[in-house]
């Protein structure tokens, strides 16, 4: 290695490992996850059982699948408040298109993918075209989708939920892909956990080892500087919104094929859970910093807390309070860690 011959390394060596760990965006989330895990291990007897862990992983995965692209988007400096209802929109489109127009659910799945990606494209396009804050644009999309979800569902099926599509052609194979589960030694593992882990791995690969990842960090950390050195800022932003849409499609298909009906009012408020998971995982609200692994740990904390409260037999009404307190703590911890990491100069 040429690095070994340089005198510079002498100064680097002593504090290297500790500093390096402190510099990781996930550190706060991992510390928080360990604390929550230890806490509920003592507070709830059933928390450590294999069956409980599989339930925790499942609820972590349902948030985690969306927390990954939302984290990427936040690293790119933007928000998407429409992410929660977009999941429902995606499920509704599959269900209603399949039921009304074809005999095979796969046609609906494909159409839903196009529609959902188009919504992501709309968000991204509006953002780069108007240069308004993404908060406002996606708040608009959020409200419009909420209205469309309810309006179209009532118009087409006459109620607030869709018709059952469980007996349609292609349903079993679609269910296998999006909502299957296996029993391994008495523990039920859902396929969403695989989707989640695969997405975390893919997002981490993209962020750390591809040009697109470099651009995402740059667009969030300094869009003007990025543009000046030739980074395709517009494409990167639109791509990030389409990433959110793609994962919303995966999530939506899971919800549909888990139950075979969809409630049109679902999904409202979930966008904040995704953002919370990303922020607990070390994403900066101002962009340019964060990780997909951190967002996954954030989602895991969500899964532990939401189920831990049940296992501890507390009143679940308190759940949101814990979530809010955890968000604040994680943000404070992250800010402190980052200050320490940057003060090393």
């Amino acid at each position: 290695m040429s690095g070994a011959s340089l005198p510079a390394d002498e100064r680097l060596a002593p504090a290297s490992l500790a500093r390096r760990l402190l510099g990781r965006p996930e550190l706060g989330a991992v510390a928080g996850a360990a604390a929550v895990f230890v806490f509920f291990s003592f507070a709830a007897d059933s928390f450590l059982r294999a069956a409980s862990l599989s339930t925790i992983l499942y609820s972590a995965s349902t948030i985690g699948i969306m927390a990954v692209p939302v984290a990427l988007l936040m690293i790119g400096g933007e928000f998407d408040l429409s992410a929660g209802v977009m999941v429902t929109t995606s499920a509704l489109v599959t269900s209603m298109f399949s039921y009304q127009l074809t005999a095979n659910v796969w046609a609906g799945v494909a159409v839903s993918l196009l529609v959902t990606l188009a919504i992501g494209l709309f968000n991204g396009f509006m953002l780069v075209r108007t240069e308004l804050p993404s908060f406002i644009i996606t708040l608009g999309t959020f409200l419009m989708l909420t209205g469309l979800n309810l309006g179209f569902t009532k118009l087409i099926s006459g109620g607030v939920s869709t018709q059952a599509i469980g007996d349609m052609e292609g349903f079993p194979s679609a269910k296998a892909l999006f909502a299957s589960q296996w029993d391994i030694g008495g523990v039920t593992l859902k396929v969403t956990i695989l989707w989640w882990l695969a997405l975390v791995a893919l997002a981490t690969w993209i962020l750390l080892r591809t040009r697109a990842g470099n651009w995402i960090f740059a667009v969030g950390g300094g869009a003007d500087a990025a543009r000046a050195v030739g980074v395709p800022v517009v494409k990167t932003r639109i791509g990030l919104y389409m990433g959110v849409a793609l994962c919303a499609w995966i999530s939506g298909q899971h919800i549909l094929f888990s139950y075979d009906v969809v409630q049109s009012g679902e999904g409202v408020g979930n966008e904040f859970l995704y953002i919370i998971a990303a922020v607990i995982g070390g994403c900066l609200m101002t962009g340019g910093y964060g990780s997909a692994v951190g967002a996954a740990v954030g989602a895991f904390i969500f899964g532990m807390t939401s189920n831990g409260i049940v296992y501890a037999q507390w009143n679940p009404d308190w759940f949101k309070f814990f979530l809010g307190a955890m968000l604040l703590l994680a943000t404070l911890l992250n800010a402190w860690v980052r200050k320490r990491a940057e003060a090393r100069a």
Binding site: P7, A8, A218, A225, A228, E342
Partner: protein, 293 residues
């Protein structure tokens, strides 16, 4: 060095104008950048310096006049197009992305990759080593190319940006006020790299409002005032005093010389100066200088 009789003009602006609505940002500005030369653009705030570099670097399009790159009339669509034509711009504030590691910043927008298809990935090893080697070549010895570039001093950040432009084979280097926010020592370091880039055969456009810095390194000087050209000189045809005078001019210059006279008095410490010497000293040492030391 390029001999005078074989000067190759890289960028030539003739009578270039730019309007923002009914505001005249720039009118009838001409300038020439040759390989191995430094062309300084001088002017006070609001003189149109920023507009001029935005045209050269492809951020804005000019409304009138001609813009030639290597003798070919051009309209640049975006900064990428400018980069592709060999024009690299280093901006005062937005040269780098502060939170990103030095090596990611160095290659931002032109990242080398290896592998193909879905396995196409950043060549991280090459990126790290090249960054370290290129910066070392310019005399910047970094402890760690992984540190966020925001932790470097202002001068070092400018130097990284310049080193990046040189590494990527820029023919024309446009520098926007590279010394504006820097202390004396760091300004010297940056100017040294500007000269190094010139010696490497690049054409340099140096935007500054400091005639002293300009005269140290410049071959040609273009003065802007309120969006129009107030003068165009070669190094032989103008002295530093004249350059300073032209930039300041009139009552502003009187005021300046008055201020300079007072500054010149104070170090004598005759006892009747309004400042106590001991109390005055710490103010001379700015935090920036300390970081540099």
């Amino acid at each position: 060095m390029t001999p005078a009789n074989t000067r190759t003009t890289l960028v030539k602006l003739t009578g270039v104008s730019k309007y923002y609505g009914n505001i005249r940002a720039l009118e009838g500005v001409s300038l020439e950048v040759a390989a191995g030369e430094i062309t300084c653009v001088l002017g006070d705030n609001g003189a149109g310096k920023s507009t001029l570099i935005k045209i050269i670097s492809g951020l804005h399009r000019h409304d009138a006049g001609s813009f030639e790159i290597e003798g070919e009339e051009t309209v640049l669509a975006n900064p990428r197009a400018a980069l592709d034509r060999g024009i690299a711009t280093v901006y005062q504030d937005l040269a780098v992305v502060p939170l990103m590691p030095v090596w990611r910043n160095f290659f931002l927008g032109s990242e080398p990759t290896r592998g193909r298809g879905p396995f196409r990935r950043l060549d991280v090893g090459l990126m790290r080593e090249t960054t370290r080697a290129e910066l070392l070549r310019m005399g910047i010895d970094l402890r760690d190319v992984d540190q966020p570039i925001g932790t470097l001093s202002g001068g070092e950040r400018q130097c990284v940006a310049i080193a990046r432009a040189v590494y990527f084979g820029a023919k024309v280097l446009v520098l926007d006020e590279p010394t504006a926010a820097l202390g004396v020592k760091q300004s010297g370091v940056v100017l040294k790299y500007v000269a190094a880039a010139r010696d490497a055969g690049l054409g340099v456009v140096l935007i500054t409002h400091n005639p002293h810095h300009a005269h140290l390194v410049g071959d040609r000087f273009v003065l802007l005032k309120r969006g129009v050209m107030a003068g165009s000189h070669t190094r032989d045809s103008i002295t530093l005093d004249e350059l300073t005078r032209q930039m300041a001019g009139g009552s502003e210059l009187d005021e300046l010389s008055h201020e300079l006279a007072r500054v010149a008095q104070s170090p004598q410490g005759t006892g009747d100066t309004p400042y106590d010497q001991a109390a005055h000293r710490p103010a001379d040492r700015t935090p920036r200088d300390e970081r540099d030391a």
